[in-house]
């Protein structure tokens, strides 16, 4: 059966309203009969869990960390977009929609993105009511800042810790429902498998990370809000536990994956310093509001930055993109930084860095004003590098940051497996081939607070949901499969650690499926990944047992899944013979090195279906139809 994105009919601006009207409702008294599993307690999972429980559903919420408040969303820095137009600078729902579609290089669904822009304003209202302390103007009203890919100022923020404040809001709402008994939280649990009964998602298997026990949980619907898989590169801005395992398990049980190779490389991160580095730290995009990016004009110029006079500096983003300047979208900024470094103009010990300079804004606005906006980011930078960005320019370099790809979902956020939903970064829905800054928080909260609580009811109201038991053959088979995967990992007793393998995989992907890709490198990667995977399963060394807290075993399971996921990711990159957004194939570029799309052949979502172990997956294409916007060559000049 071909994919049906279930996009409602009618004009773009009224689709969501019309759809909500047509959604069947579960009566308040009946909602208590339904149990919903939510895996993940980040912005998407916590907001969905809280809202579903407010509606009356019984909810079980799982997360890896010891508390739902620690989900990776906590680390988001810069802000969240909304089309409030408080600045009266020409913003509107339509403009936010347009900027997001264009930023994604016309590879996202119009209807989804429009709905996202519509909901954006309600999100801000709700978060303010929850007590999220957003930045304010002297008059007491909400402040905004600008973000990449937009010429209006529409980003709401709380210093450099917007994600933390939004997550604490959602976490508060979640804990309120825990207090009423409507939500049960299950921390320190890892989802090991999805249980599908009669073609429908009916439960999950989890591993209790403290006792090592496998646990079975049945439900009427399963929601995955497990975040992105950027850690497949080993070094990324993601938290250490971020993984692909939950969505990979779902994929292997029949849910399709969409655009797995669409990975965003963020331009402003602290550069890699050495082999033992465990993660890369993002320096929020908001810094590009005021900070100026430059490199020395002459390759190999080794003078300290303060001794390089203005005429010997190349403010390359400002000169090449006069209209957007330092605020071009991320893919453009990252690629340009790489090109400068490839041309020998990179700075720092490794030559893989460019400057981000606050000298001019401090002169113009004063130390205090700049400090108020970026103080905590400056501190963070100083802690890590030992240098004070108030005195000497920051050094930054692109790093893996966000995955636009994920589980395929229809307009209702349901995957190809009935009863299984995917929210937040775990789905592919709204960002096309490149996500604009401050749009992930918006999307996660739109999905969780406002979309899935409505659409899930519509589906439950018409679904056939026989009673099931966790002692059914399907549950037992899933437990057996999880157990045997774990025993296999523990039983290898080889000579290389999981970190060692993870680093090698990360390096392989960064070199061959990173900021600039080409067919030869991708073919090469496709040959190397299975070899590495074989070695992993022959030569891995996992200490300890499965019966208690074993962090090496946890990581081994995640890396085993990354090693499989990598293949479909590379295959996806290889079959998309065009450049779009973050997906940059060197073979397909314009004369001035911008991504060259091929709308005739690739105006689609690439959807991958699992066909069994060792069998090539099938590629299906969901065509993208543009009624309201005209896909154009993106220009930020």
């Amino acid at each position: 059966m071909p994919l049906d994105p279930k996009i409602p009919k009618g004009p773009l601006a009224t689709k969501w309203d019309t759809h909500r009207f047509h959604c069947r409702l579960v009566s308040p008294a009946n909602r208590r009969k339904y149990e919903i599993i939510v895996v993940g307690a980040g912005l998407a999972g916590a907001s969905a869990s809280a809202t579903l429980a407010e509606l009356g559903y019984r909810v079980k919420t799982f997360c890896l960390q010891d508390s739902p408040r620690r989900a990776h969303s906590i680390a988001a820095q810069g802000g969240i977009n909304a089309a409030k137009n408080y600045r009266n600078d020409g913003d509107s729902i339509h403009r936010l929609f347009y900027d997001t579609i264009k930023g994604g290089d016309f590879r996202a669904r119009e209807a989804n993105v429009y709905r996202l822009a519509q909901i954006s304003n309600q999100i801000i209202d709700h978060c303010v009511a929850q007590g999220v302390p957003f930045a304010r103007e002297y008059g007491g009203l909400l402040a905004n800042r600008s973000f990449g890919g937009a010429q209006v100022s529409r980003t709401f923020y709380a210093r450099g810790q917007t994600g933390q404040q939004l997550l604490l809001g959602a976490y508060g709402a979640l804990m309120r429902q825990v207090n009423t008994g409507s939500v049960t939280i299950m921390p320190r649990r890892e989802m090991m498998d999805l249980v599908v009964i009669d073609g429908r998602a009916r439960g999950i298997i989890t591993r209790n990370l403290i006792t090592g026990e496998f646990e079975t949980h049945a439900a009427h619907a399963v929601v995955l809000a497990t975040g992105g898989y950027g850690n497949i590169y080993c070094l990324s801005t993601n938290a250490m536990a971020s993984n692909a395992s939950a969505i990979w398990r779902a994929y292997k049980r029949g849910a399709a994956l969409a655009n797995p190779s669409f990975v965003q490389i963020h331009p402003t991160c602290i550069p890699v310093h050495g082999e033992a580095q465990s993660k890369l730290t993002l320096m929020s995009e908001s810094l590009r509001n005021d900070g100026r990016v430059w490199v020395p004009r002459k390759p190999g110029d080794s003078r300290p930055p303060s001794e390089i006079p203005t005429e010997d500096r190349d403010y390359f983003l400002e000169t090449q993109y006069p209209a957007f300047g330092n605020l071009v979208p991320r893919d453009v900024a990252s690629r340009n930084a790489k090109q400068q470094c490839d041309a020998g103009k990179g700075v720092g010990d490794t030559g893989r860095a460019v400057y981000l300079d606050f000298h001019d804004p401090i002169l113009r606005q004063g130390q205090e004003a700049v400090e108020r906006k970026y103080g905590n980011l400056f501190q963070m930078y100083e802690k890590i590098t030992g240098q004070d960005p108030r005195r000497t320019p920051m050094m930054i370099y692109p790093a893996v940051h966000y995955t636009m790809g994920g589980l395929w979902v229809d307009y209702n956020l349901m995957t190809t497996t009935p009863g299984l939903y995917a929210l937040g970064e775990a789905n592919f829905s709204d960002h096309g081939a490149n996500r604009l800054g401050a749009s992930a928080l918006m999307q996660g909260l739109a999905d969780g607070y406002f979309i899935v609580p409505i659409t899930i009811g519509d589906e439950l109201a018409q679904a056939d949901l026989p009673e099931i038991s966790t002692d059914s053959p399907e549950f037992n088979a899933a437990v057996a499969a999880s157990t045997s995967r774990q025993e296999q990992l523990l039983g290898i007793k080889g000579n290389r650690t999981v970190l060692d393998f993870h680093r090698q995989l990360g390096h392989l992907l960064w070199e061959n499926c990173g900021m600039a890709k080409n067919a030869a490198d991708l073919q090469n990667a496709l040959a190397m990944i299975p070899e590495l995977r074989d070695e992993f399963h022959r030569n891995l060394k996992v200490p300890g047992t499965g019966q208690d807290l074993n962090q090496q075993l946890e990581r081994a399971g995640r890396v085993a899944d990354f090693l499989e996921f990598a293949e479909v990711m590379v295959r996806d990159a290889l079959t998309r013979e065009e450049s779009c957004g973050c997906h940059f194939r060197s073979e397909y570029q314009t004369d001035d090195h911008e991504a060259l799309r091929n709308d005739r052949d690739f105006n689609h979502v690439s959807v991958w279906h699992f066909n069994g172990e060792g069998v090539e997956p099938t590629l299906e294409k969901e065509p993208l139809l543009y009624d309201s916007v005209e896909p154009s060559q993106r220009s930020y000049k």
Partner: protein
């Protein structure tokens, strides 16, 4: 970059029911640019290859915001650097040849799980008791309908920056949770949106704090010094005011 050698004395304990002890490890040469946790990663790699069990420690974001990491290092929760989480502590603050003692956060309300990992779910229980504003999705007024003076919003954010790591409890001689609870209470009490429930909230969170086994505050101020986010003890004062206010208003 500089290379240094460190001696570690690490608390190893398999589980709550087994006795724990300090074990000594040599790091070998490590770069002073490394973070503290990256140094532990290196030691763990060596342990695994030597068929030993790696040191178990909690961590996730490694950028000082999730509140997952934490251990007592040389007697200080999160180590000797002020306003720094363990994951943001860098080896440039140590000297070649230093001995570093690493042990878990110890408090009655934080039972040990393994090595440096403790159970901090008591914090979640305090929040569940009332650390929120009760607003259902969909019922919020327009965001700018209630102006909030900028300094008030900033103060609320100062309190809301708490990452819930538990260092304040570990540093307190009485293992009190006043700074953690006070920060949440202050954040919400400062904002007009938090006013309708402030009486209930103060009472409920105070009671929960006690029943979870946290001690009483004796104004030692160790919590503020240990806090990686520099949460001020003014939040404890504000918490106390909220509690007194709640006692007076016995009826609402």
């Amino acid at each position: 970059m500089q290379s240094i050698n460190l001696t570690l004395e690490v608390w190893r304990q398999k589980s709550r029911n087994e006795p724990g002890r300090f074990v000594t490890y040599q790091t070998g040469p490590v770069s002073s640019d490394l973070s503290f946790l990256e140094m532990l990663d290196i030691v763990n790699e060596q342990l695994i290859l030597a068929d030993d069990e790696p040191i178990v420690f909690d961590h996730d974001c490694r950028e000082g915001i999730c509140g997952m990491c934490g251990a007592v290092v040389n007697g200080h929760a999160h180590g000797p650097e002020a306003a720094t989480t363990l994951c943001q502590l860098h080896l440039r603050h140590f000297k070649d040849g230093d001995t570093i003692v690493i042990e878990p956060f110890r408090a009655r309300a934080f039972p040990l799980i393994k090595d440096l990992v403790v159970d901090r779910s008591a914090f979640d229980n305090i929040i569940a008791a009332g650390g929120y504003i009760s607003v259902n999705t969909g019922s919020a007024p327009e965001a700018n309908s209630i102006p909030i003076p900028m300094p008030t919003a900033e103060q609320a954010l100062d309190a809301a920056e708490c990452i819930g790591c538990g260092a304040c409890v570990a540093a307190c001689p009485n293992a009190a949770a006043m700074l953690f609870t006070g920060a949440r209470i202050s954040h919400l009490a400062l904002l007009p949106q938090g006013h309708p429930e402030r009486t209930l909230r103060a009472r409920a969170m105070l009671n929960k704090m006690d029943s979870e086994g946290f001690g009483n505050c004796r104004n030692e101020r160790d919590c503020e010094l240990a806090c990686p986010k520099s949460i001020s003890i003014r939040n404890i004062a504000r918490f106390n005011r909220e509690v007194i206010r709640a006692l007076i208003r016995a009826d609402d």
